[in-house]
Amino acid sequence: MTEINKGEVNRLPGTTVPWNEIVEKMEPIQGNRDMIKAEWEKLDAFAYIYLWWWVQR
């Protein structure tokens, strides 16, 4: 059986590396946090779709 890393971030649909997992590495954010978050999430959603595309057929 594949091992599951306990305490891992819960990956909601549409996410691969959630914002709350990456934002700590960006702190302190100097400018518009929402802009950075929104663009991160768009690209992350694309990565998610890429992975699931191999399954949803």
């Binding site: 059986m1 990956r11 694309f46």
Partner: protein, 391 residues
């Protein structure tokens, strides 16, 4: 865009959407779901449409130049072969690579998810796909983290952007130059099919229903929100056109009625209702026979699906679902391949007489139109519907 093409686009779209909303447009809309037939009609080999993105789009363009329909069938290849070559995807065989240049692609069905994978899949399916599934189905991922594997990931993602972008540009071109809307926006699947097609395969899922039903139910529950998201994301926010739902293992008699009630329907219903709450209608592409399940399907919110008839009893479908849901189909593909134009014409007239009188009906083949359909029969379908299907 010229005003003439914009007018043609709006007329076609309005005709199509009126029927989707169970209304009566000026004519019975014609929406043909066509794949490999487009290549044959345009004079391309199947290798050319699987590999050459420009010819893939040109094949669909040729169809809308020559046939008066209401939606563009879209580019004929489901899968762009170079994307699969980039990662070494071994579950599809393509014309010109593994097969003769005019052979339809073939899917190699195996249990790519093992019974012992259920717990990891249920806990974190996205991570499981990346860590476990892709290395199994992509030969270039044989050594995860290697240069070859990393490059395959880069090229696979880049190829998806290229393919998606080319098809989006084509849709815009079909609108501006030919006045055609596309028929669908995005796709999703029934959770049971997500699990039972690529992952566990038919043999695996059938064994699981007996040996590990609780795991199956848990996995299906996890898939509901993922499949809603997938439908939303692939629609690009489009709430006008339906979201394509190709239905597989739910056709009778893959499952008995108790299995269908327990495993297939509850999570599929949640996905359809979840999308409908966001304004997205489902094209319920019921491949095979769904007659035993029509009463259950009627539980869905009015207009939330277009019920597509393949081998389902269309008379029963019309009685049970008609008036609340648009119905589409069901010109048999065997008739389009082996019949005569006058037989196709008679069949279309019967459909119009019996099921289209009050609106809410879209003319289409029973299944996706493949390489073996005859040109004269497609012409008979289109011309008969245009001439006879006027309200």
């Amino acid at each position: 865009m010229s005003s003439q093409m914009e007018k043609a686009y709006q007329e076609r779209l309005n005709r199509y959407v009126t029927a989707l909303n169970v209304g009566k447009p000026d004519k019975v809309p014609i929406r043909l779901q066509i794949s490999e037939f487009s290549a044959k009609y345009a004079g391309f080999t199947l290798q050319e449409i699987y590999y050459d993105a420009e010819k893939n789009i040109a094949a669909a363009t040729k169809l809308i130049q020559d046939f008066d329909m209401d939606t563009c069938p879209g580019a004929p290849n489901l899968w762009w072969a170079p994307l699969h070559d980039a990662v070494g995807a071994k579950y599809l065989k393509f014309a010109g690579r593994d097969l003769e240049e005019n052979r339809q692609f073939q899917y190699v069905e195996e249990e790519y998810m093992k019974p012992e994978d259920y717990d990891a899949f249920i806990a974190d399916p996205t991570k499981w796909i990346m860590d476990c599934l892709l290395p199994r189905i992509h030969e270039e991922f044989a050594e995860p983290g290697s240069f070859r594997a990393n490059m395959a990931l880069v090229k696979g993602a880049a190829a998806m952007v290229m393919d998606t972008g080319a098809k989006a540009q084509a849709a815009q071109m079909w609108r501006e130059q030919y006045g055609y809307p596309t028929s669908i926006a995005g796709m999703h699947k029934a959770p049971f099919d997500t699990l039972g097609d690529v992952l566990r395969a038919l043999r695996g899922i059938m064994i699981d229903l007996r040996k590990r039903p609780d795991k199956v139910l848990a996995a299906l529950d996890v898939l509901v929100d993922h499949n809603i998201f997938y439908g939303m994301a692939t629609s690009g926010g489009n709430t006008t056109l339906p979201n394509f739902l190709p239905l597989h293992r739910g056709a009778y008699p893959f499952l008995n009625e108790k299995q269908w009630d327990t495993f297939y329907w509850p999570t599929l219903k949640k996905v359809i209702e979840g999308l409908w709450e966001k304004g997205i209608r489902t094209m319920f592409y019921a491949e095979g026979n769904w007659t035993p399940y029509l009463e259950k399907i009627a539980e869905l919110p009015d207009k939330s699906i277009v019920f597509h008839v393949d081998q389902t009893d269309i008379d029963k479908a019309h009685k049970i679902l008609g008036g609340r849901f648009c119905i589409s189909g069901n010109v048999p593909n065997t008739l389009l391949s082996y019949g005569k134009p006058e037989e196709v014409s008679d069949y279309c007239k019967r459909l119009i007489d019996n099921y289209a009188a009050d609106g809410g009906f879209i003319m289409d083949a029973a299944g996706v139109i493949q390489y073996d359909a005859k040109v004269e029969n497609i012409r008979a379908l289109v011309e008969t519907t245009r001439e006879y299907g006027v309200y």
